[in-house]
Amino acid sequence: MPRLRHIMLSLIFVIWAMMLSIPTLAQSGQWEQQLGDVVYSTALSGDGSIQVVGSRDNRAAAYDAQGNLLWEFKPNSTVWGVSTSQDGQLTAVASEDRNVYLLNGQGEQLWAFRSSRIVVDVAVSADGSRIFASDDGRTVYFLDGTTGEPVWQATLQNIADRISIYGTKTIRAVAGNRDSQVILFGPDGKQLWTTQLDDSVLSVDVNSNGKYIVAGTLNGKITLINGANGDTLWRIDVPNAVACTTRDKSNCVNVAINADGSRILVGTLNGDVYLLDGADGKVLQSQNAAAPITSVSISQDGQTLMFGTRTGVVNSVNTAVAAAEFAAAQERQRNLTIGIPIALLLAAAVFTVWVQRTSSGSNFWAVSMRRPREFVRLAWRSRISYILITPTIILLLIFNYYPAFSGLYHSFTEWTPGIGEKWVGLTQFQGVFNSQYFWIGIQNAVILAVSAFIKLCVPLLVAELIFHIRSGPLQYAIRTMFIVPLVVPGVVGVLLWVNIYDPNIGLLNQSLRLLGLDNLTRAWLGDKTTALPAIIAMGLPWVSPFALLIFYGGLISIPQELFDAAKVDGATWLTRFWRIDLPLLMSQIKLLVILAFIGSVQEFQSIFLTTGGGPGSVTYTPALELYYQATRFNNYGLASAMGTVLFIVILGGTIINLRYVRSQTEYEA
């Protein structure tokens, strides 16, 4: 099909041209650093110029807006919370070593307050005169900033995992606890109000005048509370929320709010970071960090955003700079969308004048329009044909063509469906080839493909054997029996093999025990060395009804005269197989090899149902990694790029197979 090949070649050319023409957008106005361990807490000074990080490796550190280290402080254990004053000159650190530390602008310890339990979070007022801390013994402490002595302390019904503080003259404190309560304390420790939310409060933050309090809860909701009376202003579901368990609560929903309450930053378990409009909770911007977000912070002006992840990455971005970039990109886009139609209109106008006013023009028009006019006339005459195929074409365009082109296009973007996409050139493809899971997957796909080719020998053998049965009824009966497994739904087929491999009641281990080979028994799918072989062995003895039918169909279409001639020439069955059957089955073999190749590259379902890629990553396949990138990590752009790479691999393999594996079908009846 040369035409098909042309289409494919031009498609590849278009992709290549797209890659060349658009350069990767440079990112600036931000820094990112890989720290050693989980970043449990981040904090920003009022203008975002001092950025403090607390992490699991017993470390609190401050950076400037460009990511240069200012100072470092090492308590004796994990840092659970950090907070800094408006000018960034006073920083409080909450540590698992049961101390609250107050540090000065050089990271030197001013005082330490010792609690009887682990301190889980801390908050410093804007002027640094009051420090609010919470421990896992359900106690909250309101400390004096100069001495470190408690002004008051209170014991709550449950642990307050996250706390906050606001005000300059009258300093009030906010706590969110595991009993789903948000509590506001006055300067004297009086509980001013308590609001009951619908799940454990995992994070809480308050704006600088206390008017807005934002809280993130375990059920994936974000609530904005009126600080004056504790009423709920609005409540939204986190977009693309992943179900959290109490175990990953520190990564589940993290929130931060800016000084006037106009911007709220949210970080989630699946790595999404959203900037929300404080008025209604609408998503303004989003990005994905590819790892669970453990902490977020926002500066008073809402321009500097910062987040930390479970994998120890700290990211800080100045949205003013990013917004300028975005605006510039939009400007370019707008120029294009306006400029191109205008240019086209101009060209059309010039062309019309030429055709209408000059003799050469009208001559050209008459000549060049002859064929199109004929075409339109013919097309109009066969309009009924077009009408009849329209439903098909529309469905195909909507559900087949559009997704295919969408996949190709979005390979070049950072794509968060429903929010937006950004052209990133070849970055996603770099990501694909740098992903170790993808390479493990490719390796496994090659193994699966080779074993799939080998497995094709069995149906060929069975087809030959059935073909040589003398008795007609017996032949029919056996052929039918081999096709019976078709009635078992594919998923059931895989699940039955999962059962066969079960360590306790699996048929395989039970048989080994029966034979006294107890030392060979194992968790076949759970063992790193046997997981992949076990998946390959599934379906033993691999008599695929599909392949069997195709081989058998091929065998019975070989003209009888050829067999008779071979018989007369005294050929043995082996010679006959090599010289007649195999060459004449070449088109069937070719088809099955292509299908096996395509199937192996896309292999996903059986892995998903058996090991899910594990143990570790030994049974990953590229398609499985693609699925996980999209569904678990929301990396739709990366998933699309993987899809494109696999598409090219499949296309290449198919073309090579069609081209170089010759078939001899001259004898076909």
């Binding site: 098909l4 013919l378 098909t392 429903g418 003398r470 739904p489 998923v491 069937q588 395509i598 693609l626």
Partner: protein, 296 residues
């Protein structure tokens, strides 16, 4: 003329050889062939036998006496298996049937147009349809999911029915076109002379003559949609709307990990619709496989 037969006689008779020795060797050869086939057959059917065997036992019997016969036979496994699967089976059959009707109507109509009509751009449009056979599922899986989400039909029956119908057409058009092309031109000529409209030619002449291929298409599409797993897994999240293949995997969480008897019974129950389908339509299905293979 209902079908085109391409098959040769099933046995290939070779002239009888007189010598008794050769005949004995021949008989021994047949014995070896049958023996190896029976061994392979037994191995092939092991999972199915295991499934039926387990479905009649309870956990005590499975863990305690793995190799023992079901005693007492736990027929009640089937009632819990049926309870767990009935909604899923009903859903799947509903979605699949709607999609089958759509595929059959659209493919036969389009196949008819491509086989019988001449119109500008016909070949280019046909190549563009066939080109879809080259697009692998991995490329379109995620974009389709996002697209269906944007269309607002996620977690509704349309999320599976429409893409199934659109995707099933490509093979259906191929199948129908090649079949309609074999119908004699004279039938349509005489129909036209009698004043039949294009739609009447399709409905009154082409369709009645092509029942076998339409049944083949319907069965193949029904089987492939019944077996589809990934797409419903992505697009249908509510349990009341879920299909069989996904429902089977969620069975674990419903009954706890270890309740094997009812689980196996549920597998058997999930198999029954296909069993019934194949009892009536096996030969149509086989024809679909082989004709698809010859054309591809």
């Amino acid at each position: 003329m209902a079908t085109t037969t391409r098959t040769k006689p099933l046995t290939n008779e070779v002239p009888r050889i007189a010598s008794g020795d050769a005949r004995r060797r021949e008989a021994f050869g047949q014995f070896l062939i049958l023996l190896s086939l029976f061994v392979l057959l037994a191995l092939t059917l092991v999972p199915i036998i295991l499934m039926i065997f387990f479905s009649l036992k309870d956990n005590g019997q499975i863990y305690g006496r793995f190799w023992g016969m079901p005693n007492p036979v736990r027929w009640e496994n089937y009632s819990s298996g049926y309870t767990a699967m009935s909604t899923y089976i009903y859903n799947t059959l509903l979605y699949s049937s709607v999609s089958v009707v759509g595929v059959v109507i659209l493919s036969s109509l389009t196949g008819y147009v491509f086989a019988r009509h001449r119109f500008p751009m016909k070949d280019s449009i046909y190549v563009l349809i066939l080109a879809l056979l080259m697009i692998p599922g991995v490329l379109t899986l995620i974009p389709s999911f996002v697209w269906v989400k944007q269309l607002g039909i996620l977690n509704t029956p349309f999320a599976v029915i429409l893409p199934w119908t659109a995707g099933g057409q490509v093979f259906g058009i191929l199948l129908c076109r090649s079949f309609f092309a074999t119908l004699p031109q004279e039938l349509f000529e005489s129909g036209r002379l009698d004043g039949a409209t294009e739609f009447q030619l399709y409905y009154r002449i082409a369709i009645p003559l092509s029942w076998p291929i339409i049944v083949t298409l319907a069965i193949m599409h029904l089987v492939s949609t019944y077996n589809d797993f990934i797409w419903p897994l992505l697009t249908i999240s509510s349990s009341e709307m879920q299909v069989v293949s996904v429902g089977l995997t969620q069975f674990t969480t419903q009954f706890g990990v270890t309740d094997w008897g009812p689980r196996m019974a549920a597998y058997v129950v999930a198999t029954i619709p296909l069993l019934i389908l194949f009892m009536f339509g096996m030969r149509y299905y086989i024809r679909g496989i082989t004709s698809g293979a010859v054309k591809a």
